[in-house]
Symmetry: C2
Subunit: 504 residues, 2 copies
């Protein structure tokens, strides 16, 4: 019909998904690249989201008996050498501290001085340094289980960075637990993956597929890595959380031993599990549209923005009085784990740009209020999950009385839409040619989808597909049914389907 729709974000998702992501993040003022290589600045609107995510996850961890602690930022180089496989996976790209002071150099500029006898690594993850403490704290089965978590910054030197998705420094939590038995440690591994699943699905409104990683995708040093994988709107997968069963590997490396009930000395069984600011990137990519970010209400930095409209000082004082009292009323309404709704009032005089700013930021509900609305005792409300054009006059009473339902409806819609998209783009595949077509024939920045296909479990087939298509085994789903078949790559016998996709 030639009816060109104007969108707030250029390019659109369809035009250039990777660039759309960068623009969405920028327009939302959630974060930006810093001039420090590979590091990001998380701005107040992005950090408030992270604070809400942290608060919710933290209470879920604590409900399972986990306690928080804090361990050093620096790891002595020698610690990393204790667990060979772990080092192989992490030591390659990390920030190395070699000096402990600065001095005036010959040209008057500052230069590093005071070389350390042993270099220190800025933690890429803390298994080794927490293991060192655990080895001192644990001596008897009575000291077990030991259930620790740390909220921290970590650094993994990255050459190509994207805000939230891959940055040299990022924020995360890392849980570390030690147990007397293998079974208990395995159960804890799954328990924490369930916590992540519940959080990501119920709070971030992101449907996920749970499963085991293949040997080659496992955490370095782990016996088993479990994960949750979500589908972005470009049909690529994003790993939203991992939970590792470490067996006795790290306990051996860090000498975490305990005396069991019979007086025998044993190595403990450990787990670790983590989620990071990367989840924010996933949340943006799964829900965002061509007008910007869409915040799931249960984690949104703010729930409602009130946009007063007035032409002169007289109108202004009347409108602001109404707006302020409405804000107070909304602020007293509890919502999920928050004591009251968070309400923003934006009284800038910027014409239409003001409303678009909040659309780009993804606030769940906008409400314009002018003299005519007040006369009617109403507000002119809009939901972020609907088109910017859809705005309805709602009586103040209905708006206040129905706001929690509206927010929960938005939350449910976001999840439903994402789940439908994931399902519509997940296919069982049995033909190698079709599989290869699936991942090569798609448009710019769009990547086939999820393929549930048979795999013989060989590293060779996994590598061949990765090399040919940049497609990896995201996981062996927990709920994949037992079904004999033929490997999508080599045609030999396979015990069941696994999830293939391109991935972030």
């Amino acid at each position: 019909m030639g009816n060109k729709v104007t969108t707030a974000i250029k390019p659109t998702r369809e035009e250039d998904y990777p660039m759309w992501y960068q623009e969405v993040v920028k327009a939302s003022e959630m974060a930006e690249k810093s001039s420090v290589r590979g590091c990001m600045v998380i701005r107040p609107w992005g950090y408030a989201l992270w604070e809400n995510m942290v608060a919710q996850l933290d209470s879920m961890f604590k409900a399972t008996g986990v306690k928080n602690a804090y361990f050093p930022l620096f790891i002595p180089l020698s610690y990393l050498e204790r667990e060979a496989e772990h080092v192989e996976g992490f030591a390659k790209e990390c920030a190395v501290v070699t000096h402990h002071k600065l001095e005036q150099g010959e040209n008057g500029r500052l230069v590093p001085a005071g070389e350390l006898a042993e270099p220190l690594i800025v933690r890429p993850t803390s298994e080794t340094i927490i293991g060192e403490s655990m080895s001192r704290w644990i001596s008897s089965y009575r000291d077990l289980p030991l259930l620790l978590n740390q909220w921290a910054n970590v650094v993994r030197w990255e050459m190509r960075t994207r805000i939230f998705l891959r940055t040299s420094e990022f924020l995360w939590q890392e849980g570390h637990t030690a147990h007397a038995t293998e079974q208990e440690a395995r159960e804890r591994t799954y328990q924490m993956l369930e916590v992540y699943t519940k959080f990501v699905e119920e709070y971030l409104a992101m449907p996920v597929i749970r499963g085991y990683k293949s040997d080659s995708e496992r955490f370095p040093g782990a016996v088993e890595t479990t994960c949750i994988e979500a589908m972005m709107q470009d049909k690529k997968a994003l790993q939203a959380g991992t939970s590792h069963f470490l067996g006795q590997n790290f306990a051996r490396g860090s000498n975490i031993r305990f005396q069991d009930g019979d007086g025998n000395e044993q190595f403990a069984w450990t787990t670790s599990w983590g989620v990071s600011t990367r989840m924010i990137g996933g949340m943006i990519m799964i829900h965002g549209d061509d007008d910007g970010v869409i915040m799931p209400p249960r984690v949104a930095p703010a729930h409602v923005v009130l946009l007063p409209i007035f032409k002169n000082d007289e109108e202004r004082s009347m409108v602001m009085e109404y707006v302020d009292s409405l804000a107070r009323e909304l602020g007293d309404i509890p919502y999920k784990n928050r004591p009251g709704l968070v309400v923003e009032i934006d009284d800038r005089d910027t014409g239409g740009a003001r409303g678009w700013d909040w659309i780009k930021k993804g606030i769940p509900v906008r409400a314009e209020i002018g003299p005519k609305d007040i006369e009617k005792g109403a507000v002119f409300a809009a939901r972020r999950d609907e088109s910017p054009k859809v705005r309805k006059s709602i009586s103040r009473g209905d708006f206040v009385g129905g706001i929690v339902d509206m927010l929960e409806d938005i939350q449910a819609n976001l999840y439903k839409k994402a789940l439908e998209f994931q399902r519509a783009n997940t296919f069982e595949m049995d033909d190698k040619n079709k599989f290869y077509d699936f991942y090569t024939s798609s448009g710019k920045g769009i990547h086939g989808g999820f393929a549930m296909a048979h795999w013989c479990r060989s590293r060779e087939c996994e590598s061949a597909i990765k090399e040919d298509l940049s497609v990896t085994i995201r996981c062996i789903p927990f709920d994949s049914r037992e079904e004999e078949g033929k490997c999508i790559c080599c045609g030999t016998k396979s015990p069941g389907r696994v999830l293939f996709a391109k991935a972030y």
Copy 2:
């Protein structure tokens, strides 16, 4: 009377205060030294205290309009050179990252590789890096004030470390604000010092003296540094928080400019303010006794520990049922900003050691419950601010009904005791000999006290006293009365008294 009292901590405060502190921290399981030079491990009991402190402070900051954000851990070396005085103060001892990977060296060991073109400094404080962002975010007076805060880890390489009090890595918050006018920035400086004062006095139960730092004790690069100073039980001062008016110095260094209402370009006026895990050390030193830590109830990691007593399985099941129901009942009682009291149940079979463990940890209230107590419908309760011998049988109803009052009474007592101690050890001094005696004649690890004495405002006198006595000017108190006098050091004219003390 020769009645030797046994204490849980050896040595006692009187015998060796510095060693007492180390032992108290260790016995409380709040934190410990790590094997990483100068860094500490904050254990769950210490970290839960920090979490409560953070939650309270954070809500107080936000109530003044401050928003949280997060800035990079690393600061490029060149940034530090932008503000000369600042560099002089901070660049000396810091962690310097010079490489971004590790490689296998000739001997098979890992060695640093990938040298950075420009070394990165692990932030000792973030004025320079936050200034860089502010310069991009601020262009008009409409963007001001910009009120930011960051919760983060920072590193200042320290040669001699003491847990919480001085560690190479520590946790803190740093507030950074930019304003259009000098007056507004000065007001913000004082406003945040008032927030700190309220928090430290009302939550940590630490009475403080507010004032200005002398020129030589100012934050490097600041125009004015305000601070709060508390008296520890060894009569030394501990700086518990600082708030700096930075004038336009940092705005010049970071190029933070804005267009004012008349279209003229100006440099912004900035402030910064911070408190750290150091406050925990102060809290331990001001309230602790020879039996260990005493936690102020309003920030305590837990409020009540229930200690079930039983001789056999039958008694056990009966007692535990009672204890569990009591714990639930207490857990539903809101206290200050917490939705319910935090209750620990310790059912370990360790005889007397169990009760002492909780005394050393400083939990405000202990309650023993055995079959006889249950028969009477009572608990056998003890308060941490009273002698370990004082335990009273209280009916369950009175205990539950009176617990909040009991906690608030403990809170008030701690503050009152600390204030009385501070007042009893603060003296106006006008005689140089007496002043010198005051700081030289005291016992092991005990350090005179606070002296309010006249000072001519010269650096020479300040230095002489510091050199002779290791006594510094802690602050020029806000509330010191105008009074002409003679400098305690040189005898020349002085405009008023200042606070002298030995300090942490």
